[in-house]
Amino acid sequence: MVPIEYYLVLSALLFVIGSAGVILRRNIITMFMCIELMLNAVNLTFITLSKVWGQVDGQIIVFFVMTVTAAEAAVGLALIVVLSRRNNTLDADQANSMKW
């Protein structure tokens, strides 16, 4: 049996890669995909720990996270479409009209 720590370390690495992507990339769609990557890593942690403790609640949480992610993707992509229509670019640095 594979030790549980391996799963936790893998999901930590996936989360770190995703957060680095959010910080480094400037394309809004890619940043959004990196957020999905981070959510995916957290889901893996939840399911691993739910299996460790023998409780099903962790998987229920992941179920809800998946639902919220689907809703978030729909609204977020709609926002991206509106933003690109407005600015004619997908560069996150160009979205600075609220900056003082």
Partner: protein
Amino acid sequence: MPHLIFFGLAVIALVGAFLVVLAPRAVYSALALIVCFIATAGLLLQLGAQFMAFLQIIIYAGAIMVLFLFVIMLLDPKTENFSSNRLIKFSVLIVPLGILMTLLLMKNFPLPSITATNWNSIMADDVRSIGNSLFRDYLLPFEVTSILILVAIIGAVVLTKRPKH
């Protein structure tokens, strides 16, 4: 053998995640993300969470990524030139963070040692126990989720509607 499968899937997932961040074009990032999601689904299968693994493939790799690819093709984002400067920043950022999170996980978790028999009994009635818990203990959150999805649908339509004048 389980170790071999785990490391194979873990390497695929990590390479996919790296490609998501480092690929210059958004389409390649999306395809790499699908690979990463499918490898994660394989890991969930190995953990014995079959229901969640197939949900992962259907919802994440299916629905959400199709939505992403659709928007990418619609907007046609330009290639982001990714200089070696960015690569250095990436490694400077990722190495200490990765080490930190790994250390935190290794040190501070009082994990129970799981036995093989325990593991198998959890595996057996995976879907049934999830269904029982979802429709009994978590019934109210489940119903609230439907309102959330309704709000998301209406929000997406209202946001992308062009003004009349």
